[in-house]
């Protein structure tokens, strides 16, 4: 018969190996399985905790950010003074060019439920979901600019893949419309802060430092005109082929407390699925 200490030690080792094996299995499991497991946890055991955090975020926002939001609303109200004139001009020009009426996405506000992991800024949990009309592949913005897109949507929460995620891509164009490309987070190990790269710019085109970069509207996910960031220099170039520019993002996912999900696009999903990929 084994001594009690040795029995305990073997049991400890067995439990440890079992947990490590499950963790490694989760790391390399297919992506739909990973999202399904995460979704199941969020909609069952973690649901009361997420609800608790949503209450706390709402309370914090209402107390500490009231002044900032009031100032933003006042600025927006001033900017909106000239909106009727611009809309009228736009309608007249579209009529002259025989263009259809521009479709404006409907924004839905959502609180960001930040977590403590250091990878929090890559994938944000937000406190609104399918009940508010949110679907996968809808754009997510903050007052500063583009944050990312909805990856999966549950009944009352959704996951947002931000521009800091290695898999994120968006079709982009400079503000004057002269240069187009694709933006994604930089993999350059020498850059201190998370930055974006504007890739696929032909070598013959050059972009000046300080040029604003916006979404181009190509691809059907992001509408044209969302602020992505500002060009800060050339990251690297392939002689005679292309230049890759470094773009400082306008919005910081790690610091944002609330976002707007732009409804209108996205990919519908069956109502029965709790939280699914498109």
């Amino acid at each position: 018969m084994l001594e009690p200490d040795r029995t305990f030690a073997r049991r400890d080792t067995a439990l440890f190996v079992f947990c490590v094996a499950l963790s490694v299995g989760a790391l390399f499991a297919p992506e739909p399985w990973q999202y399904a497991a995460a979704s199941a946890a969020r909609s069952t055991a973690l649901a009361p905790l997420i609800a608790l955090q949503r209450i706390a975020e709402a309370s914090r926002t209402s107390r500490t950010r009231f002044d900032a939001l009031t100032a933003e609303r006042d600025s927006a109200a001033v900017a909106a003074q000239s909106l009727p004139v611009l809309l009228d001009e736009n309608a007249q020009l579209r009529a002259l060019l025989d263009l259809a009426r521009r479709v404006s996405p409907r924004p839905v506000p959502a609180e960001v439920l930040h977590q403590s992991l250091p990878t929090d800024a890559r994938m944000l949990l937000i406190g609104s979901g399918r009940a508010a009309g949110i679907m996968p592949f809808q754009p997510v913005v903050s007052p500063d600019g583009l944050i990312g897109l909805v990856r999966t949507a549950g009944a009352s929460t959704a996951l947002v893949m931000t521009w800091a995620h290695p898999d994120f891509r968006a079709s982009a164009v400079t503000l004057d419309g002269s240069v187009t490309g694709l933006v994604g987070v930089t993999a350059d190990a020498t850059i201190r802060e998370p930055m974006l790269e504007l890739r696929g710019v032909p070598y013959r085109d050059s972009v000046a430092v300080g040029t604003p970069v916006i979404t181009s509207g190509l691809g059907g996910v992001f509408p044209r005109g969302l602020n992505i960031g500002t060009v800060v220099g050339v990251a690297r170039q392939s002689e005679g082929w292309e230049r890759i520019y470094l773009v400082r993002p306008a919005a910081a996912p790690a610091r944002v407390s609330h976002v707007l999900v732009l409804l209108g696009g996205g990919v519908p999903q069956p109502a029965a699925a709790e939280d699914s990929l498109p």
């Binding site: 080792t13 440890f16 490590v20 499950l22 706390a56 403590s116 994938m123 802060e193």
Partner: protein, 165 residues
């Protein structure tokens, strides 16, 4: 009710309190990147008074919850918390002194190690890794350690953790 059962219930109450702090109080505290990680604190306190196998299992469960809430790299937090829980329980059994500041250092080291493992498992590299490890992670570890000292000082009898006078 036996004394052992009463101790277990008191310890569970502290763990429930920490979960409540994580989801109700933490969002109201400063920058989310440096606010104390009460779940990690709970894991470290559990590891201090438990066997390595139980601590590994607790780490796995907490890691699963973290991954479900931030699935940037699903499984990374599970693996990191399992390793940290197991190592913390072994470390406590082998060389740990019953001192409040040493406990605080132990908690801070656990948080920092967890972040290191999560970042590596998530494929973070270069200067971003360095900034995370030497700027944000130490700040998070420090705030969690301070919270740990407060919890240990207030609930030292309930936690059943021996501390030098």
């Amino acid at each position: 009710m036996t004394a052992a059962r009463a101790r277990r219930i008191r310890f569970m109450l502290v763990m429930v309190l920490l979960v409540g702090l994580q989801f109700y109080v933490r969002p109201r505290l400063w920058n989310p990147r440096v606010a104390p990680d009460f779940l990690m604190l709970g894991l470290m306190l559990f590891a201090i008074r438990s066997r390595p196998g139980a601590a590994a299992l607790a780490g796995f469960i907490i890691g699963f919850a973290s991954d479900a809430l931030t699935p940037a790299r699903f499984g990374a937090a599970m693996l990191a918390n399992t390793l940290v829980g197991y190592a913390a329980a072994w470390g406590r059994a082998v060389f740990f002194a019953d001192n409040l500041l040493v406990n605080a250092g132990f908690i801070a080291a656990g948080v920092w190690l967890r972040n290191l493992l999560v970042l590596i498992a998530s494929g973070t590299s270069g200067r971003d890794l360095l900034v995370q490890l030497f700027l944000w992670s130490p700040a998070l570890a420090l705030s969690t350690a301070i919270a740990g000292v407060i919890v240990l000082a207030v609930f030292r009898d309930w936690l059943d953790i021996r501390l030098e006078e």
